[in-house]
Protein backbone atom coordinates (compact mmCIF):
# COMPACT_ATOMS: atom_id res chain seq x y z
CA UNK A 1 0.00 0.00 0.00
CA UNK A 2 1.11 3.47 -0.82
CA UNK A 3 2.78 5.43 1.95
CA UNK A 4 2.01 9.08 2.42
CA UNK A 5 3.78 11.35 4.87
CA UNK A 6 1.46 13.39 7.06
CA UNK A 7 3.30 16.52 8.21
CA UNK A 8 2.03 15.88 11.72
CA UNK A 9 2.00 12.09 12.01
CA UNK A 10 4.76 11.00 9.67
CA UNK A 11 4.57 8.21 7.10
CA UNK A 12 1.27 6.37 7.15
CA UNK A 13 -0.51 4.02 4.70
CA UNK A 14 -2.67 5.82 2.16
CA UNK A 15 -5.80 4.13 3.52
CA UNK A 16 -5.58 6.53 6.48
CA UNK A 17 -5.98 9.51 4.19
CA UNK A 18 -8.70 11.14 2.16
CA UNK A 19 -7.97 12.93 -1.08
CA UNK A 20 -9.10 16.52 -1.36
CA UNK A 21 -8.35 17.33 -4.98
CA UNK A 22 -6.10 19.92 -6.50
CA UNK A 23 -5.57 23.16 -4.63
CA UNK A 24 -7.40 25.85 -6.61
CA UNK A 25 -7.61 29.51 -5.77
CA UNK A 26 -11.17 30.77 -5.37
CA UNK A 27 -11.97 33.83 -7.49
CA UNK A 28 -13.57 36.80 -5.79
CA UNK A 29 -17.27 36.08 -6.10
CA UNK A 30 -18.08 39.75 -5.83
CA UNK A 31 -16.10 40.74 -8.89
CA UNK A 32 -15.76 37.70 -11.14
CA UNK A 33 -18.08 36.87 -14.02
CA UNK A 34 -20.59 34.05 -13.90
CA UNK A 35 -18.47 32.13 -16.35
CA UNK A 36 -15.34 32.54 -14.27
CA UNK A 37 -17.20 31.33 -11.22
CA UNK A 38 -18.63 28.31 -13.05
CA UNK A 39 -15.15 27.52 -14.31
CA UNK A 40 -13.93 27.54 -10.71
CA UNK A 41 -16.80 25.38 -9.48
CA UNK A 42 -16.78 22.71 -12.17
CA UNK A 43 -13.65 22.68 -14.27
CA UNK A 44 -10.47 20.90 -13.28
CA UNK A 45 -7.01 20.71 -14.63
CA UNK A 46 -7.14 17.03 -15.42
CA UNK A 47 -3.80 17.06 -17.20
CA UNK A 48 -1.28 14.71 -15.61
CA UNK A 49 1.78 16.14 -13.96
CA UNK A 50 3.07 17.44 -10.69
CA UNK A 51 0.24 19.06 -8.77
CA UNK A 52 -0.33 20.55 -5.36
CA UNK A 53 -3.21 18.76 -3.74
CA UNK A 54 -5.22 18.68 -0.57
CA UNK A 55 -4.86 15.55 1.53
CA UNK A 56 -6.47 14.78 4.85
CA UNK A 57 -5.21 12.46 7.54
CA UNK A 58 -8.49 11.03 8.75
CA UNK A 59 -7.51 9.72 12.14
CA UNK A 60 -5.98 12.99 13.28
CA UNK A 61 -8.13 15.36 11.25
CA UNK A 62 -5.14 16.99 9.58
CA UNK A 63 -5.49 18.78 6.26
CA UNK A 64 -2.25 19.34 4.45
CA UNK A 65 -0.75 20.03 1.06
CA UNK A 66 1.03 17.41 -1.01
CA UNK A 67 3.03 17.96 -4.12
CA UNK A 68 2.46 14.82 -6.15
CA UNK A 69 3.25 13.46 -9.57
CA UNK A 70 -0.10 12.17 -10.79
CA UNK A 71 1.49 9.81 -13.32
CA UNK A 72 4.13 8.12 -11.20
CA UNK A 73 2.04 8.49 -8.02
CA UNK A 74 5.12 9.90 -6.35
CA UNK A 75 4.72 12.35 -3.50
CA UNK A 76 7.45 14.95 -3.66
CA UNK A 77 6.71 16.76 -0.41
CA UNK A 78 3.93 17.46 2.07
CA UNK A 79 3.39 20.43 4.34
CA UNK A 80 0.80 22.12 6.49
CA UNK A 81 -1.11 25.18 5.29
CA UNK A 82 0.47 28.30 6.71
Amino acid sequence: MKILTCPVNGPRPVSEFAYGGEVRPMPDGATCTDREWADYVFNRSGVPGVKIEWWYHIASGTWFYAERDTVADRVIRTWLPA
Binding site: M1, K2, S15, A18, Y19, G21, E22, D34, R35, A38, D39, V41, F42, N43, R44, S45, G46, V47, P48, K51, E53, T70, V71, A72, D73
Partner: protein, 413 residues
Amino acid sequence: MPYQLLRFAFASKHPEPRMFRTPERLKNAYDAVIIGAGGHGLASAYYLARDHGMTNVAVLERGYIGGGNTGRNTTIIRSNYLTPEGVAFYDQSVRLWQDLSQDFDLNLFYATRGHFTLAHTDSAVRTMRWRAEVNKHFGVDSELVGPDEVRKAAPQIDITCGGHAPILGALYHAPGAIARHDAVAWGYGRGADQRGVEIHQQTEVLGINVESGKVTGVRTTKGDIATPRVLSAVAGFTPRVTDMVGLRTPIYIHPLQAMVTEPMKPWLDPILVSGSLHVYVSQSARGELVMGASLDPYELHATRSTLDFVEGLAAHMLDMFPFLSNARVNRQWAGMADMTPDFAPIMGTTPVEGFYLDAGWGTWGFKATPVCGKTMSWTVANGRNHELIKGFNLSRFERYELTGEKGAASVGH
Protein backbone atom coordinates in the same frame (compact mmCIF):
# COMPACT_ATOMS: atom_id res chain seq x y z
CA MET B 1 -22.40 -27.71 -36.02
CA PRO B 2 -22.89 -24.26 -37.54
CA TYR B 3 -22.02 -24.12 -41.22
CA GLN B 4 -19.62 -21.22 -40.56
CA LEU B 5 -17.24 -23.68 -38.92
CA LEU B 6 -17.23 -26.20 -41.74
CA ARG B 7 -15.15 -24.03 -44.01
CA PHE B 8 -12.38 -23.96 -41.42
CA ALA B 9 -11.88 -27.69 -41.57
CA PHE B 10 -12.00 -27.95 -45.34
CA ALA B 11 -9.86 -24.98 -46.27
CA SER B 12 -6.19 -25.64 -46.89
CA LYS B 13 -5.31 -22.20 -45.64
CA HIS B 14 -7.01 -20.30 -42.83
CA PRO B 15 -9.88 -18.74 -44.78
CA GLU B 16 -9.92 -15.42 -42.93
CA PRO B 17 -8.54 -12.13 -44.25
CA ARG B 18 -7.06 -9.35 -42.16
CA MET B 19 -9.59 -7.60 -39.99
CA PHE B 20 -7.74 -4.33 -40.32
CA ARG B 21 -4.92 -3.22 -42.56
CA THR B 22 -1.80 -1.46 -41.42
CA PRO B 23 -1.52 1.67 -43.57
CA GLU B 24 2.01 2.45 -44.63
CA ARG B 25 1.93 6.13 -43.76
CA LEU B 26 -0.41 8.96 -42.92
CA LYS B 27 -1.90 10.98 -45.74
CA ASN B 28 -1.41 14.73 -45.76
CA ALA B 29 -5.04 15.49 -45.16
CA TYR B 30 -8.21 13.84 -43.98
CA ASP B 31 -11.80 14.97 -43.82
CA ALA B 32 -11.82 13.93 -40.19
CA VAL B 33 -9.38 12.59 -37.64
CA ILE B 34 -10.53 10.47 -34.75
CA ILE B 35 -8.17 10.22 -31.82
CA GLY B 36 -8.47 6.89 -30.06
CA ALA B 37 -9.05 3.45 -31.56
CA GLY B 38 -11.15 2.17 -28.71
CA GLY B 39 -14.75 1.14 -29.08
CA HIS B 40 -16.05 4.71 -29.20
CA GLY B 41 -13.52 6.00 -31.72
CA LEU B 42 -13.89 3.01 -34.01
CA ALA B 43 -17.67 3.02 -33.76
CA SER B 44 -17.66 6.69 -34.71
CA ALA B 45 -15.41 5.91 -37.67
CA TYR B 46 -17.62 2.99 -38.68
CA TYR B 47 -20.83 5.01 -38.71
CA LEU B 48 -19.12 8.02 -40.29
CA ALA B 49 -18.21 5.77 -43.20
CA ARG B 50 -21.36 3.67 -43.28
CA ASP B 51 -24.07 6.20 -42.54
CA HIS B 52 -22.52 9.49 -43.62
CA GLY B 53 -20.29 8.45 -46.49
CA MET B 54 -17.21 10.00 -44.87
CA THR B 55 -14.40 7.59 -45.58
CA ASN B 56 -11.38 9.87 -45.82
CA VAL B 57 -10.96 9.42 -42.10
CA ALA B 58 -7.96 8.48 -39.98
CA VAL B 59 -8.23 6.87 -36.57
CA LEU B 60 -5.07 7.54 -34.57
CA GLU B 61 -4.14 5.27 -31.71
CA ARG B 62 -1.08 5.61 -29.51
CA GLY B 63 -1.26 1.94 -28.49
CA TYR B 64 -3.27 -0.76 -30.15
CA ILE B 65 -6.91 -1.29 -31.10
CA GLY B 66 -9.17 -1.64 -28.09
CA GLY B 67 -6.26 -1.53 -25.65
CA GLY B 68 -7.68 1.09 -23.34
CA ASN B 69 -10.88 0.95 -21.38
CA THR B 70 -12.60 -1.02 -24.14
CA GLY B 71 -10.47 -3.99 -23.23
CA ARG B 72 -10.44 -3.33 -19.50
CA ASN B 73 -14.06 -2.90 -18.51
CA THR B 74 -16.35 -5.52 -17.05
CA THR B 75 -18.59 -5.50 -20.16
CA ILE B 76 -21.94 -4.78 -18.56
CA ILE B 77 -24.60 -3.40 -20.88
CA ARG B 78 -27.79 -1.85 -19.55
CA SER B 79 -30.07 1.14 -19.95
CA ASN B 80 -31.62 1.44 -16.49
CA TYR B 81 -30.47 5.00 -15.90
CA LEU B 82 -32.14 7.71 -13.91
CA THR B 83 -32.40 10.79 -16.06
CA PRO B 84 -34.64 10.99 -19.11
CA GLU B 85 -31.61 11.96 -21.18
CA GLY B 86 -29.70 8.97 -19.93
CA VAL B 87 -32.49 6.47 -20.36
CA ALA B 88 -33.30 7.53 -23.92
CA PHE B 89 -29.63 7.48 -24.87
CA TYR B 90 -28.72 4.12 -23.38
CA ASP B 91 -31.96 2.54 -24.53
CA GLN B 92 -30.97 3.37 -28.09
CA SER B 93 -27.59 1.86 -27.34
CA VAL B 94 -29.03 -1.42 -26.10
CA ARG B 95 -31.16 -1.66 -29.23
CA LEU B 96 -28.07 -1.25 -31.38
CA TRP B 97 -26.17 -3.76 -29.28
CA GLN B 98 -28.76 -6.43 -29.83
CA ASP B 99 -28.10 -6.55 -33.58
CA LEU B 100 -24.43 -5.77 -33.58
CA SER B 101 -23.13 -9.35 -34.00
CA GLN B 102 -25.25 -9.73 -37.12
CA ASP B 103 -24.26 -6.25 -38.34
CA PHE B 104 -20.61 -7.15 -38.08
CA ASP B 105 -20.92 -10.82 -38.90
CA LEU B 106 -18.75 -11.26 -35.83
CA ASN B 107 -20.05 -12.97 -32.73
CA LEU B 108 -19.71 -10.56 -29.82
CA PHE B 109 -21.20 -13.08 -27.43
CA TYR B 110 -23.86 -10.58 -26.57
CA ALA B 111 -25.58 -12.45 -23.78
CA THR B 112 -28.73 -11.11 -22.21
CA ARG B 113 -28.51 -12.15 -18.60
CA GLY B 114 -30.74 -9.82 -16.62
CA HIS B 115 -29.24 -7.20 -14.33
CA PHE B 116 -30.01 -6.75 -10.64
CA THR B 117 -29.00 -3.62 -8.78
CA LEU B 118 -29.33 -4.71 -5.18
CA ALA B 119 -30.75 -2.42 -2.53
CA HIS B 120 -29.62 -2.99 1.04
CA THR B 121 -31.17 0.10 2.63
CA ASP B 122 -34.57 1.67 2.41
CA SER B 123 -33.07 4.74 0.77
CA ALA B 124 -31.58 2.50 -1.89
CA VAL B 125 -35.00 0.91 -2.38
CA ARG B 126 -36.38 4.41 -2.98
CA THR B 127 -33.69 5.15 -5.54
CA MET B 128 -34.35 1.86 -7.32
CA ARG B 129 -38.03 2.69 -7.48
CA TRP B 130 -37.18 6.08 -8.94
CA ARG B 131 -35.04 4.49 -11.62
CA ALA B 132 -37.64 1.82 -12.33
CA GLU B 133 -40.35 4.45 -12.74
CA VAL B 134 -38.29 6.61 -15.08
CA ASN B 135 -37.28 3.52 -17.06
CA LYS B 136 -40.82 2.29 -17.41
CA HIS B 137 -41.92 5.74 -18.45
CA PHE B 138 -39.59 5.47 -21.42
CA GLY B 139 -40.52 1.90 -22.19
CA VAL B 140 -37.37 0.40 -20.70
CA ASP B 141 -37.87 -2.93 -19.03
CA SER B 142 -37.04 -2.30 -15.38
CA GLU B 143 -38.87 -3.25 -12.25
CA LEU B 144 -38.40 -2.90 -8.53
CA VAL B 145 -38.44 -6.44 -7.16
CA GLY B 146 -38.24 -7.99 -3.73
CA PRO B 147 -35.57 -10.25 -2.26
CA ASP B 148 -37.45 -13.34 -3.44
CA GLU B 149 -36.91 -12.39 -7.07
CA VAL B 150 -33.22 -11.98 -6.41
CA ARG B 151 -33.14 -15.38 -4.79
CA LYS B 152 -34.94 -16.90 -7.74
CA ALA B 153 -32.40 -15.55 -10.20
CA ALA B 154 -29.35 -16.28 -8.05
CA PRO B 155 -30.42 -18.99 -5.62
CA GLN B 156 -26.92 -19.29 -4.17
CA ILE B 157 -26.78 -15.76 -2.81
CA ASP B 158 -26.75 -15.10 0.92
CA ILE B 159 -29.71 -12.77 0.98
CA THR B 160 -28.54 -11.26 4.28
CA CYS B 161 -25.06 -10.65 2.87
CA GLY B 162 -23.32 -11.96 5.94
CA GLY B 163 -26.01 -10.54 8.19
CA HIS B 164 -24.94 -6.93 7.96
CA ALA B 165 -26.37 -5.81 4.64
CA PRO B 166 -29.61 -7.70 4.00
CA ILE B 167 -30.97 -7.37 0.49
CA LEU B 168 -34.28 -5.52 0.75
CA GLY B 169 -35.00 -5.44 -2.94
CA ALA B 170 -33.48 -4.77 -6.31
CA LEU B 171 -33.91 -2.97 -9.54
CA TYR B 172 -34.35 -5.74 -12.06
CA HIS B 173 -33.48 -4.86 -15.61
CA ALA B 174 -34.21 -7.81 -17.88
CA PRO B 175 -32.24 -6.56 -20.92
CA GLY B 176 -29.00 -6.31 -18.90
CA ALA B 177 -26.30 -8.08 -20.88
CA ILE B 178 -22.62 -8.77 -21.18
CA ALA B 179 -20.50 -9.01 -24.32
CA ARG B 180 -16.99 -9.85 -25.41
CA HIS B 181 -15.42 -6.42 -25.14
CA ASP B 182 -12.41 -6.81 -27.42
CA ALA B 183 -14.53 -8.13 -30.25
CA VAL B 184 -16.59 -4.95 -30.19
CA ALA B 185 -13.54 -2.89 -31.07
CA TRP B 186 -12.48 -5.43 -33.68
CA GLY B 187 -15.91 -5.51 -35.26
CA TYR B 188 -16.10 -1.75 -35.55
CA GLY B 189 -12.47 -1.60 -36.65
CA ARG B 190 -12.99 -4.18 -39.36
CA GLY B 191 -16.16 -2.50 -40.56
CA ALA B 192 -14.51 0.91 -40.68
CA ASP B 193 -11.43 -0.49 -42.40
CA GLN B 194 -13.54 -2.24 -45.04
CA ARG B 195 -15.18 1.07 -45.82
CA GLY B 196 -11.92 2.88 -46.34
CA VAL B 197 -11.15 4.34 -42.94
CA GLU B 198 -7.46 4.18 -42.03
CA ILE B 199 -6.56 2.91 -38.57
CA HIS B 200 -3.09 3.97 -37.51
CA GLN B 201 -1.91 2.13 -34.43
CA GLN B 202 1.20 3.17 -32.51
CA THR B 203 0.58 6.70 -33.69
CA GLU B 204 0.47 9.22 -30.89
CA VAL B 205 -1.04 12.65 -31.19
CA LEU B 206 1.41 15.34 -30.10
CA GLY B 207 -0.67 18.41 -30.75
CA ILE B 208 -3.70 19.85 -32.47
CA ASN B 209 -3.46 22.93 -34.64
CA VAL B 210 -6.09 25.56 -34.00
CA GLU B 211 -6.24 28.77 -36.01
CA SER B 212 -8.74 31.51 -35.20
CA GLY B 213 -10.74 29.15 -33.08
CA LYS B 214 -10.89 26.44 -35.72
CA VAL B 215 -9.19 23.08 -35.92
CA THR B 216 -6.83 22.88 -38.88
CA GLY B 217 -4.65 19.88 -38.25
CA VAL B 218 -3.08 17.29 -36.01
CA ARG B 219 0.57 16.66 -35.22
CA THR B 220 1.56 13.08 -34.58
CA THR B 221 4.62 10.95 -33.99
CA LYS B 222 4.22 9.81 -37.60
CA GLY B 223 3.87 13.26 -39.12
CA ASP B 224 1.44 16.14 -39.45
CA ILE B 225 -2.05 16.01 -40.92
CA ALA B 226 -4.38 18.71 -42.13
CA THR B 227 -7.99 18.23 -41.13
CA PRO B 228 -10.96 20.44 -40.32
CA ARG B 229 -12.50 17.96 -37.86
CA VAL B 230 -11.06 16.19 -34.87
CA LEU B 231 -13.01 13.87 -32.62
CA SER B 232 -11.39 13.02 -29.31
CA ALA B 233 -12.49 9.63 -27.97
CA VAL B 234 -9.68 8.86 -25.56
CA ALA B 235 -11.34 8.29 -22.18
CA GLY B 236 -8.60 8.55 -19.55
CA PHE B 237 -6.38 10.58 -21.85
CA THR B 238 -9.02 13.25 -22.48
CA PRO B 239 -7.41 15.99 -20.37
CA ARG B 240 -4.19 15.66 -22.35
CA VAL B 241 -6.07 16.13 -25.62
CA THR B 242 -8.35 18.94 -24.47
CA ASP B 243 -5.26 20.67 -23.17
CA MET B 244 -3.88 20.65 -26.72
CA VAL B 245 -6.76 22.88 -27.84
CA GLY B 246 -6.79 24.96 -24.67
CA LEU B 247 -10.12 23.64 -23.48
CA ARG B 248 -10.98 23.37 -19.81
CA THR B 249 -13.39 20.66 -18.74
CA PRO B 250 -14.61 19.19 -15.45
CA ILE B 251 -13.04 15.84 -16.28
CA TYR B 252 -10.77 14.26 -13.73
CA ILE B 253 -9.06 10.89 -13.95
CA HIS B 254 -9.29 8.16 -11.36
CA PRO B 255 -8.31 4.53 -11.88
CA LEU B 256 -11.02 1.91 -11.89
CA GLN B 257 -9.93 -1.60 -11.03
CA ALA B 258 -11.33 -5.04 -11.69
CA MET B 259 -10.41 -8.65 -11.10
CA VAL B 260 -11.25 -12.08 -12.38
CA THR B 261 -11.26 -15.55 -10.86
CA GLU B 262 -10.05 -18.75 -12.41
CA PRO B 263 -12.61 -20.40 -14.64
CA MET B 264 -15.24 -22.44 -12.87
CA LYS B 265 -18.32 -24.21 -14.12
CA PRO B 266 -21.05 -21.66 -14.85
CA TRP B 267 -23.46 -21.08 -12.00
CA LEU B 268 -24.19 -17.35 -11.93
CA ASP B 269 -26.59 -16.36 -14.67
CA PRO B 270 -27.55 -12.76 -13.89
CA ILE B 271 -25.37 -9.70 -13.50
CA LEU B 272 -25.42 -8.51 -9.90
CA VAL B 273 -24.51 -5.06 -8.65
CA SER B 274 -24.46 -3.91 -5.07
CA GLY B 275 -23.87 -0.26 -4.37
CA SER B 276 -23.64 -0.77 -0.62
CA LEU B 277 -21.10 -3.57 -0.89
CA HIS B 278 -19.32 -1.99 -3.87
CA VAL B 279 -19.53 -5.14 -5.95
CA TYR B 280 -20.50 -5.89 -9.47
CA VAL B 281 -20.12 -9.38 -10.76
CA SER B 282 -21.02 -11.55 -13.70
CA GLN B 283 -19.73 -14.85 -15.01
CA SER B 284 -18.07 -14.71 -18.38
CA ALA B 285 -18.40 -17.14 -21.25
CA ARG B 286 -15.08 -18.61 -20.08
CA GLY B 287 -16.52 -19.36 -16.67
CA GLU B 288 -14.55 -16.67 -14.88
CA LEU B 289 -16.23 -14.40 -12.37
CA VAL B 290 -15.57 -10.87 -13.56
CA MET B 291 -15.75 -8.43 -10.68
CA GLY B 292 -15.42 -4.74 -10.11
CA ALA B 293 -15.89 -2.28 -7.29
CA SER B 294 -15.87 1.45 -6.82
CA LEU B 295 -13.50 3.98 -8.26
CA ASP B 296 -10.06 4.47 -6.77
CA PRO B 297 -10.14 7.34 -4.31
CA TYR B 298 -7.65 9.70 -5.90
CA GLU B 299 -6.47 11.09 -9.20
CA LEU B 300 -3.93 8.95 -11.00
CA HIS B 301 -2.95 8.65 -14.62
CA ALA B 302 -1.77 5.07 -14.42
CA THR B 303 -3.19 1.58 -14.47
CA ARG B 304 -1.40 0.11 -11.50
CA SER B 305 -3.18 -2.36 -9.25
CA THR B 306 -3.66 -2.13 -5.51
CA LEU B 307 -3.98 -4.86 -2.93
CA ASP B 308 -6.60 -2.98 -0.92
CA PHE B 309 -8.87 -3.21 -3.91
CA VAL B 310 -8.80 -6.99 -4.10
CA GLU B 311 -9.00 -7.34 -0.34
CA GLY B 312 -12.13 -5.24 -0.07
CA LEU B 313 -13.81 -6.72 -3.08
CA ALA B 314 -13.01 -10.27 -1.98
CA ALA B 315 -14.53 -9.64 1.46
CA HIS B 316 -17.73 -8.30 -0.04
CA MET B 317 -17.91 -11.12 -2.57
CA LEU B 318 -17.79 -13.59 0.31
CA ASP B 319 -20.53 -11.67 2.10
CA MET B 320 -22.73 -12.35 -0.90
CA PHE B 321 -21.37 -15.77 -1.81
CA PRO B 322 -19.63 -17.35 1.21
CA PHE B 323 -19.05 -20.62 -0.65
CA LEU B 324 -16.56 -18.87 -2.94
CA SER B 325 -13.90 -18.95 -0.21
CA ASN B 326 -11.89 -21.58 -2.12
CA ALA B 327 -12.21 -19.88 -5.49
CA ARG B 328 -9.08 -18.08 -6.55
CA VAL B 329 -8.47 -14.69 -8.02
CA ASN B 330 -6.42 -15.08 -11.13
CA ARG B 331 -5.71 -11.54 -12.19
CA GLN B 332 -6.43 -7.93 -11.45
CA TRP B 333 -6.08 -4.89 -13.65
CA ALA B 334 -7.13 -1.27 -13.96
CA GLY B 335 -8.28 1.35 -16.41
CA MET B 336 -8.28 5.13 -16.25
CA ALA B 337 -11.80 6.49 -15.85
CA ASP B 338 -12.63 10.01 -17.03
CA MET B 339 -15.07 11.21 -14.42
CA THR B 340 -17.48 14.14 -14.50
CA PRO B 341 -19.21 15.97 -11.66
CA ASP B 342 -22.68 14.74 -12.67
CA PHE B 343 -21.75 11.18 -13.67
CA ALA B 344 -22.91 11.87 -17.22
CA PRO B 345 -20.76 12.06 -20.34
CA ILE B 346 -19.53 15.14 -22.15
CA MET B 347 -20.34 14.86 -25.83
CA GLY B 348 -20.57 16.89 -28.95
CA THR B 349 -19.44 20.30 -30.06
CA THR B 350 -17.03 22.47 -28.12
CA PRO B 351 -16.06 26.14 -28.21
CA VAL B 352 -13.28 25.14 -30.61
CA GLU B 353 -14.81 24.82 -34.03
CA GLY B 354 -14.21 21.41 -35.53
CA PHE B 355 -13.16 19.88 -32.22
CA TYR B 356 -15.62 17.32 -30.96
CA LEU B 357 -15.54 15.63 -27.64
CA ASP B 358 -16.65 12.15 -26.70
CA ALA B 359 -15.54 11.95 -23.10
CA GLY B 360 -16.54 11.79 -19.49
CA TRP B 361 -17.27 8.13 -19.82
CA GLY B 362 -16.13 7.35 -16.33
CA THR B 363 -17.21 3.87 -15.43
CA TRP B 364 -20.05 3.56 -17.92
CA GLY B 365 -18.58 3.96 -21.39
CA PHE B 366 -18.65 0.43 -22.77
CA LYS B 367 -22.41 0.11 -22.81
CA ALA B 368 -22.69 3.35 -24.78
CA THR B 369 -20.29 2.29 -27.54
CA PRO B 370 -22.79 1.83 -30.38
CA VAL B 371 -24.92 4.86 -29.64
CA CYS B 372 -21.85 7.02 -29.17
CA GLY B 373 -20.65 5.98 -32.58
CA LYS B 374 -24.05 6.75 -34.05
CA THR B 375 -24.51 10.13 -32.43
CA MET B 376 -20.94 11.34 -32.60
CA SER B 377 -20.62 10.43 -36.26
CA TRP B 378 -23.84 12.34 -36.95
CA THR B 379 -22.51 15.28 -34.96
CA VAL B 380 -19.16 15.31 -36.75
CA ALA B 381 -20.79 14.91 -40.16
CA ASN B 382 -23.35 17.64 -39.56
CA GLY B 383 -21.35 20.02 -37.42
CA ARG B 384 -24.05 20.21 -34.77
CA ASN B 385 -25.17 18.08 -31.88
CA HIS B 386 -27.35 15.04 -32.44
CA GLU B 387 -30.68 15.27 -30.66
CA LEU B 388 -29.87 12.43 -28.24
CA ILE B 389 -26.71 14.09 -26.92
CA LYS B 390 -27.86 17.67 -26.52
CA GLY B 391 -28.14 17.21 -22.78
CA PHE B 392 -24.53 16.04 -22.58
CA ASN B 393 -22.81 19.09 -24.04
CA LEU B 394 -19.82 20.59 -22.27
CA SER B 395 -21.65 23.91 -22.04
CA ARG B 396 -24.10 22.52 -19.50
CA PHE B 397 -21.71 23.20 -16.66
CA GLU B 398 -21.38 26.93 -17.12
CA ARG B 399 -25.17 27.01 -17.41
CA TYR B 400 -25.50 25.01 -14.17
CA GLU B 401 -27.68 22.55 -16.07
CA LEU B 402 -26.17 19.32 -14.91
CA THR B 403 -28.10 16.43 -16.41
CA GLY B 404 -26.52 13.97 -14.20
CA GLU B 405 -27.07 10.68 -12.71
CA LYS B 406 -25.67 12.27 -9.60
CA GLY B 407 -29.19 12.90 -8.38
CA ALA B 408 -29.62 9.27 -7.51
CA ALA B 409 -26.01 8.58 -6.69
CA SER B 410 -26.07 10.88 -3.72
CA VAL B 411 -29.43 10.06 -2.24
CA GLY B 412 -28.41 9.13 1.24
CA HIS B 413 -29.95 8.39 4.63
